[in-house]
């Protein structure tokens, strides 16, 4: 599991509130990713990071921001949550090999 944890694992929030999801890894992997998983859409990349303070947008980045101040932590923030952001969010890491290691996921519901 590459020592990847996500917090919280479940969250229910209201439209318009800010939400921050945390991904923590203990493998010292350089690359980290945030995906969302939705029925019929599979996994879509939101943002990724290729090092501390180095981040870039994925294919569905609107409404999301990220920060990476330490190698082990990658934060995903929804500045003002909307119902369309109800989803399961996965963090993944890779140390530069082919394999991406995934976290357990965070189920977010925006009412």
């Amino acid at each position: 599991d590459a020592g990847i944890t996500q917090s919280p694992r479940h969250k229910v929030t209201e439209t318009g509130t800010p939400v921050t999801l945390r991904c923590h890894q203990t493998e010292n992997h350089r690359y980290m990713y945030w995906y969302r998983q939705d029925p019929g859409h599979g996994l879509r990349l939101i943002h990724y990071s290729y090092g501390v303070k180095d981040t870039d947008k994925g294919e569905v980045s609107d409404g999301y921001s990220v920060s990476r101040s330490k190698t082990e932590d990658f934060l995903l923030t929804l500045e003002s949550a909307t119902s369309s952001q109800t989803s399961v969010y996965f963090c993944a890491t890779t140390g530069g090999t082919d394999t991406q290691y995934f976290g357990p996921g965070t189920r977010l519901t925006v009412l």
């Binding site: 990713y33 019929g40 996994l43 290729y50 870039d56 530069g96 082919d98 991406q100 976290g103 357990p104």
Partner: protein, 114 residues
């Protein structure tokens, strides 16, 4: 642009029957292809990659560049194979792609009936 297509959203077979999960891709260069699997209540994990030419849990996948396909096959399905399967493509770095970036298909939910 890179694209991965899994035409079957749902696939059901009986135990012991052969199973094939289809994956087609579009990419102008030489991609690297993977299959990831997500069992119920578990995290996604790598099942196999085309460059390894390996067989994992009885599954194999052959990259067919002519048909731009990377279908996942197993001759005799088992109940424990029931899961969501994702095909993924990684573009080589020298094509200007995001380092380590994977492009996922929409997934195929496989159900193996007893």
């Amino acid at each position: 642009a890179q694209r991965v297509t899994q035409p079957e959203k749902l696939l059901s077979v009986f135990k012991g029957a052969p199973v094939e999960l289809k994956c087609n891709y579009s990419y102008s260069g030489s991609p690297e292809l993977f299959w990831y699997v997500q069992y119920s209540r578990q995290r996604l994990q790598l099942l196999l990659r085309h460059i390894s030419r390996e067989s994992i849990k009885g599954f194999t996948a052959d990259l067919n560049k002519g048909e731009t396909s990377f279908h996942l096959k197993k001759p005799f399905a088992q109940e424990e194979d029931s899961a969501m399967y994702y095909c993924a493509l990684k573009a080589p770095r020298n094509r200007g792609s995001t380092l380590g970036r994977l492009y996922f298909g929409r997934g195929t939910q496989l159900t193996v009936w007893p």
